[in-house]
Every structure is written in C-alpha cells, then in structure tokens.
Subunit: 344 residues, 2 copies
DNA sequence: TTTAAGTACTGCAACGTTGTAAGGTGCAGA
DNA sequence: TCTGCACCTTACAACGTTGCAGTACTTAAA
C-alpha cells in the first residue's frame, strides 16, 4: 500500500490539507512547515493518487489516439509522432486500434481520457459526444469537429500529373474503395480522375482497382489481378498508399516487368521503407510530423478551457510534397540523390 | 454533465444503492424494480464512472505497454497484436514509447494502470516496484519478473548456420551493441559467434559491425562502412533486425552487388515487409503472435489475485522459425514459394 | 487599545462509486 | 397474533483528493 496524504500528514505533524497545499505549491505555507512536509514526502516516497485527483475534478493527463491499425507503417509512424508531440505537455497517449470497428471508440469514454485524436478511416461511427476530439485524415465533415488533413485530392492530382509529365498515358489506380464510407480513398480517386481529365484523358474503368485493405498483400494481389485481367498493360500505377505500392512493385518484378521501365509506380504516405526499397519508391509525403503536432495543439486548445476552447471548430490543411524516386524516375537519376533524407 | 447513480435513483424512485445493485447484476432485486431502474438507466443513458469505481477499489481495465518506439515495424506489429490479445479481456492498452529513456516507465505509475508489459530494450532502469509486470525480449534477469522471449542465441545460431550451409564462409554481423546494456544484441552476437566457432571458423572482428540504432538507415550506413573498410568483402551478412537487413540490402544493390549472388543477407524479426521486398528477405521469425498472447495471459494471472498470482516468476521461451527467401536462396527457388504466407 | 488585514493552518464536505450492516416488507408456520 | 425468515431495499462509511469556510495567530494602522 503506497503512502497517502494521511501518512505524510501524520509523519510531519500537520493536517492532511497542509500536505496537499505543499504538494500543489500553495503560497501560504511557512517555510519551516514546507520543509518538514517535504522531508516527510521524500522519506515516504509519496506520490499523489491520480484517480482521486481526477475524481475531485482535474484532468487525467491521458489522451486517446484511435487508429485503424498499428501494423500499417503510416499509422505506426503517426502514432509515434503523436506520442512525442504529447510528451512536452505531460500527456500520456492511450492508443486504441479500431480495426474498423466503431464500438472501440465508444468504449474509450469508459476510461478517463481527457480528449481524443481520431483517425476515423473505415469507421463511420459518430464522434463521441462530450469528448474533446480532433479528427485526422481527409474525412468530409459537417464541421462540428477540429480537423487536420492533407488535401487528398490535390495530392493525388500531383501524383497523377507526375506520371503524366513522365510521358505515361495509360495510368492505373490501385486502392479505390470497395465499400462506400472510405472517404480518404474516394478523395484520392477524385484527384486522380480530375488530373487525367485535365489532360484530356478518359479514365479506363478497368484500370481502377478496388482493394479490400491497404496492405502489402492487397497491393500485390491487386497488381496481379490487373495484369491478368487487362488486355493492354498500364504503363504507370498510382497506388493510394505506399504499402499498396510496395506490394504492387513486388508483383511486377516477380513477373519480370521492369519498374519503372515497363510500369512506373507511385505511392502515397511517405513511409520510411519506401526510401530503402529497390527500386526506391516515389511517393506523396504528407507532412506527418506537422499533422501530429497540430492535432496535439488543437486538442490542447480545446482542453485548455480558456476562451479558445469555445471557438468554432477548425479545418487545417497540411502540406505535402512529391518525392520522386526510382520507381518513377529510374535508377540513374535516383542514385544521384542517394542517400535519402533521414527521417530521424 | 453525464447522469449519475443519483439521477437514475431519483428518476426510478429508489435509492442510489439499488441502482448500483442493478448495474452490477446483484441477485436480490425485485424484477419490477429492476425493470424500472433499467428503464431509467436507458432513458438517461447512464454509464458508470470508471474513476469512482477504481477509487472504490477495482482495477482500471488499462494495462500499459512500453516499447522503444513504434516506428520500428516489429514493435508496431507487436503492439498491434498485444492490443488484440488484450481485447477479449476487456483491457485497453496504454502504449508508452520509451525512446530508451527509463523515466518514461516510472511515469506510468502516475496513471492508473493495472499492469505493465515491458520491452525494455535500451532501458536499463529497474522494473517499477509494485506494478505487475511482464518483460519481453531476451533480457537476462534476476528472475524477479515474468518473462517471455525467444532464445536469441539459438535463433542467431540458426541464422548463421543457414548461411554456412549455403557455403558462405566469410560472414559479417551487423547490429552488434555499441553500448553495454543492449542485451538482445549481445545474445544474438553470442549465437553468431558460437555457430561460427562450431564450424571451426574464427570471427573476423572487422566483420562485426556495431550500430547506433536498428533502423533502415543504420543498416544502410553499416553496410556502406563495411564495404568501404574491409579488404576482403564478406559473402554473407547476418543482420540483427529485418530493418537493418533491408537497409543493408539497399546499399548492396546501390553499389551494384548482387544479393545473394555476391552477398547473402539474412535478418531477424519476420516483419511483413521482408516478404515483399526485392529480393525478398530471409529472416528468423519469432512467433510474435504467441509472444503477445503469452504476455497478456501471464499478466492476467498476476492480476487475477488468485493462488497463481503469488507463484514464482516464470520464464517462457517462445519458438522461432527460419524463413528462407530470396536474399539467401536466390530468386529461382524463392519464386516457387511465392506468394508468401499471409500474416493477417 | 481596538480594528483591520493578512498569514498559517485546519476541518468539513464533496467528487461517484460500492461493501457492509441494518432496515423494512410480506408470508408461512406456530 | 406473533415469531422467524426469507427477500428486497436502504443508510452509512469509505476510497484519496481538493475547494471552501473558518480559526487562531501576527502585524500594522487607526
């Protein structure tokens, strides 16, 4: 049984409340008393009980982060960055893996979290009532909640135009939604379509491949299906995540196709693995560190309780950049940029 | 302000305690009363306050998982599996990123976690007193704490012997510790040395490369340093993690070396990315799902409070298997095993 | 000398829950 | 009618903390 205020008070010969005052840095405590109390605290190794504190009315110092899954490198990286961004504020992050199930989020309310950062991909559940929340990702919203995202359509357009500029005309897209609520993927698809339309190109429906998930295996399978099914092979593929792209590349190489000679491949996410694969992966890299920092900052504002906590919800758009590597440019030019920028 | 027991009691016209009894499924409640109370609960949307419950004496339903970092695919995967294993028990997992800093773990006690699963790599701090804990990884211990791990030395031996069987004689190791407390890496190094010694081979100190971290960039840099420094090139490399291996392979290909023709490479961890890289990565795959399940089960036993909670700490050794792919076997034989076993 | 203001500290109540013990019914049997 | 006994329900205390009100003492001003 750890020591309590009561024990410290008994040892120092003061009331419980005086110890509480010392612990909380209250001003009106005589130096001598403070010293004696502090000595008792140190001697007993007293640590305040967070449960009781929170019951009395303070925050718990824990925020929740809900991501679809940690095995996706992008979300793992995002989670790591958010933990780091929350650290200076003394917050601990409780990570919840939704696996696309909305009830996982609702369950969070049962724990004493002060706020929530939610990457709602695949979850169409409402945002929990009464819990300060920041949304991540390109979800179209009613504007009820703070929101940080890249412009998915614009970024997808950049990727597509990069392929067009390289002289590719028959461009496939891997990662289209196979169910309605996948808004991120719908946005990326829209950006893809628009960029092609702007170049006067029609989208061949055969070349738009829906996938059940966004993993390496899904990318590999989608590419295999594409190559098996289509009469005229595409000369480029825009994959909606880097994992899909790495899987797709594997399938191409497997079948003796040259990347990017026969097929250029570009991904989306900017994960570290793409810089070290062979061929290294061209991608759209969102400013993930900034997304993490902004999400934490927005949540802090809401939790602060000051005047800003009542402000209308904000939509913040974060920048992205095109990182062209070997999977679209070929090995010569890419080699000249070796080694890739460290992400440490 | 969410509804409290008090509010429900008032609405149902019973005492607070009766509502509490209904909520907790206490037997002696008249069916009619139960019905009325339940109706009030539903009408008000009452949810028990976990803070007060815990203050009164129960567990919080939250366990902590401390990993060095989430950006490493292996730890991200492990974290995801532990979250899944904890779910059936109704536990939520609070993930702490230690970044090699022991004070992060100590800070956990301030939050109301029931137990801790700790991957202490790079952290030489003591296990927190009084918090039920399960250790992961090949840490050598005084046997005070439950512990789940693969036999790192044996596994490293398997990797090394695999290279020897392929006729490689000049084998390097990337990932040796650059600081004392890195026990995992020390064990793997020992396994490597022993396997070579068993084959009557001496270890060339030049071929044992210490690294500052276990990332892709560290592997790439280590391999570059090795190739630059050593007169006679090694014909195989055992990397202590898959990330190191993927980075090392990238450097080899970058320099025009064939993998495995010129240099065979094998990793350690069995991460999914290794199955889709080119060449695909041979590796030692620990049974990570089992590690996660066992860690949760052991913790549950300690928390159960039953007779088993007082048992002496257990050391559990988890199996591993050698997954031979293209980076050691070459592309022909590997292609025959395509596609790799899904890890979903 | 009295009053006011300020300082140092204490005691009580409250946060929302649950365990314990006690209170209050109604019914069967004496 | 009364006792005993289930059965159902309630009051109270406690978990560890902090806000508030209040007390006792000190110092300075009127």
């Amino acid at each position: 049984m750890p020591p309590r205020l009561k024990d410290v008070a008994a040892r120092a010969g003061v009331s419980i409340k005086t110890v509480s005052n010392v612990v909380n840095g209250f001003v009106h405590v005589a130096p001598e008393t403070r010293r004696r109390v502090q000595a008792a605290i140190d001697a007993l190794g007293y640590v305040p009980d967070p449960t009781a504190r929170r019951l009395r009315g303070g925050g718990s110092g824990v925020i929740a982060l809900a991501v679809p899954e940690l095995r996706s490198p992008y979300y793992a990286e995002l989670a790591g960055l958010i933990v780091q961004a929350a650290e200076p504020r003394g917050w601990t992050v409780l990570i919840e893996q939704t696996d696309g199930r909305g009830d996982r989020i609702t369950g969070l309310r049962r724990h004493s979290v002060d706020g929530l950062i939610l990457a709602p991909q695949g979850v169409d559940r409402e945002v929990p009532d009464g819990l300060p929340t920041v949304l991540l990702g390109e979800r179209v919203l009613d504007g009820q909640t703070d929101h940080v995202a890249v412009d998915g359509a614009a970024a997808a357009g950049d990727a597509t135009r990069h392929l067009l500029r390289l002289g590719r005309w028959r461009i496939a897209a891997i990662g289209a939604p196979d169910r309605p609520p996948a808004i991120i993927r719908t946005q990326r698809l829209a950006g893809f379509r628009n960029a092609l339309a702007d170049s006067g190109l029609a989208v061949d429906p055969q070349l738009v491949v829906p996938v059940p998930g966004m993993h390496l295996a899904d990318g590999a399978a989608a590419m295999a299906g594409l190559l098996d099914r289509v009469e005229r092979r595409p000369d480029a593929v825009f994959c909606f995540t880097d994992s899909l792209a790495l899987g797709a590349i594997r399938t191409c190489l497997e079948r003796g196709l040259d990347v990017p000679g026969d097929i250029a491949v570009i991904g989306f996410d900017g994960i570290e693995e793409g810089a070290y694969s062979t061929p290294s992966l061209s991608t759209i890299a969102p400013d993930t560190a900034r997304i993490a920092q902004l999400a934490v900052d927005l949540l802090a504002e809401r939790l602060g309780g000051g005047p800003s906590a009542a402000k209308p919800p904000r939509e913040i758009c974060v920048g992205h950049r095109l990182v062209a590597r070997e999977s679209t440019l070929g090995s010569t030019s890419a080699r000249s940029r070796w080694p890739p920028r460290s992400r440490a």
